[in-house]
């Protein structure tokens, strides 16, 4: 079982920070014996806000930096990361854990700023949550988060109080199976119709990915596991005049099959196109509605980050384009 060895006095320079089982060394370079740059605190999202943080793995190239990230993780999480086959998978798994820990630490919820000290647990359905230390009457804030990652993007959504699910996917992701065959097997009839109505196969592929990410985000927000909400038991409906594809003004809603006439108003959605290359679907528990059941738009702050190195506020730029749902970017 691969483990990080103790610091060895003269490690050779290595391109990869991940211990090669055949080699005794990993790149815990002596030059970087100092800790990571202290994390800059950030303000907690307000009850109406959603924070989206993301890392682009290809932009994190420094092996010593990745080794430092590894040091932030408890042994169990390191083992989990090292259990993935191949450097690229290990890297995105490492960045996912690092992003979650450093992001939550920066909110300084309990006055601390140490990503190492955070503990995580899973709810009874397996959804990860923070396990706050309850001491001296400390009442943990209702901070909610959810992570999603592909090899090319790692993202974390954070809210105060609203259950959240997020899912990211490359726009050009192709299914091995035929889309309509897949949709007939796993999606609902309405969704199959929606896809079937798209004549261009490229656009159809993209619509499929959008639907997939929205459905994933919903199930992850529910937090009850995929077996409690099989994909063919709920429909994602897009409300546009054209009904053919998503556009910026489209409302997205979920309708569960067991109460078909009753569009579930508890959940609101956002669909974003990130950097022109990825779709990000966000599903949030609705906190308050405006008059006559109308929902407030999602207030979104999006930041691209390299943990402990730099942040870039990207909401409102063309790095983050709203393509579905009602979203205001800050």
């Amino acid at each position: 079982h691969r483990r990080l060895p103790a610091v060895i006095p003269t490690p050779p320079v290595s391109a990869s920070p991940f211990p090669n089982p055949k080699s005794q060394y990993c790149c815990l370079s002596r030059n970087f014996s100092a800790a990571l740059t202290p994390l800059l605190p950030v303000q907690l999202p307000s009850r109406m806000e959603t924070h989206l943080w993301y890392v682009v793995p290809d932009e994190v190239k420094s092996a010593p930096l990745l080794s430092k990230y590894m040091e932030l993780l408890p042994q169990s999480e390191r083992d989990h990361v090292l259990g993935f086959r191949g450097d690229q998978l290990q890297k995105s798994a490492l960045l996912a854990r690092t992003l979650v820990r450093t992001t939550i630490a920066r909110y300084q919820v309990d006055g601390h700023l140490d990503p190492r000290s955070l503990r995580f647990k899973r709810n009874i359905h397996g959804k990860p949550e923070v396990e706050w230390e309850t001491k001296d009457g400390f009442c943990p804030p209702p901070l909610q988060f959810n992570i999603s990652h592909t090899s090319s993007l790692v993202a974390c959504g954070v809210t105060m109080n609203s259950l959240i699910g997020i899912d990211v996917e490359e726009k050009r992701r192709r299914t091995k199976n035929n889309i309509l065959a897949f949709a007939k097997r796993y999606f609902t009839a309405h969704e199959v119709e929606h896809l079937n109505a798209i004549p261009d196969s490229e656009l159809q592929q993209q619509e499929f990915i959008k639907l997939w990410t929205l459905k994933e985000a919903y199930v992850k927000a529910l937090g009850k596991g995929f077996s409690s909400s099989p994909f063919n038991t709920f429909t994602i409906r897009v409300n546009t005049a054209a009904q053919e594809s998503f556009c910026a003004s489209s409302g997205i809603a979920v309708e569960t099959l067991d109460s078909p006439q009753n569009l579930t108003n508890n959940w609101q959605f956002a669909l974003l196109e990130l950097m022109g290359s990825h779709y990000v679907a966000i599903c949030l528990e609705r906190q308050e509605t405006g008059g006559a059941g109308k929902a407030f738009p999602i207030k979104l702050t999006a930041r691209k980050t390299i943990p402990s190195v730099e942040d870039e506020l990207v909401s409102g730029t063309n790095a983050v384009v709203t393509i579905g749902g009602s979203v205001t970017q800050f």
Binding site: R85, E169, T175, F182, F226, S227, F231
Partner: protein, 152 residues
């Protein structure tokens, strides 16, 4: 595992639930079965009754063949480099499968074996062995439901 064979080649599968070791005798007579803790002793393994030998051979071959086919489908779906070693314990997620890949793998298995996997069962499919187990169970159920058309 003990082995009663002087075969030039042997196929061993670490199947946790069957613990059978298959080997091909050098004379090419087909399979000699050595069962660990099963009812076949080493002696009877070489001379089982024709019927039980064939039934065992079919069961054994089905499981190994199932694992092989699952590996094939997983390799294809995840576009694994040919040097990637797969074992029955290999976890889909560790190989890089996300939820879409897993569902596509299950769909591929359904088509390959002409079965239908309930969404609830597909949650239990996280490794190659687990996939093979679910498939074999479903295939067996199918076989039991249809009028017996056993091969000889």
């Amino acid at each position: 595992m003990a082995s009663v064979t002087s075969a030039a080649s042997s196929l061993t599968f670490g199947l946790s639930n069957t613990a059978l070791q298959m080997s091909q005798s050098s004379s090419g007579l087909g399979y000699n079965l050595v069962s660990m803790g099963g009812s076949l002793s080493n002696k009877t393994a070489s001379f089982p009754s024709l019927r039980s030998r064939q039934r065992s051979r079919i069961t054994c071959a089905a499981k190994a063949e199932t694992v092989e086919k699952v590996c094939e489908i997983v390799r294809k779906q995840l576009v694994l480099p040919s040097e990637t070693v797969l074992t029955p314990d290999s976890k889909f997620s560790a190989l890089g499968a996300d939820s879409l890949d897993t569902v596509e793998i299950v769909m591929g298995l359904e088509e390959e074996f002409d079965i239908s996997v309930e969404e609830e069962s597909s949650q239990n499919i996280t490794t190659i062995q687990e996939a093979a187990d679910v498939i074999d169970k479903l295939v067996q159920k199918k076989g039991e439901a249809a009028p017996a058309a056993s091969s000889t």
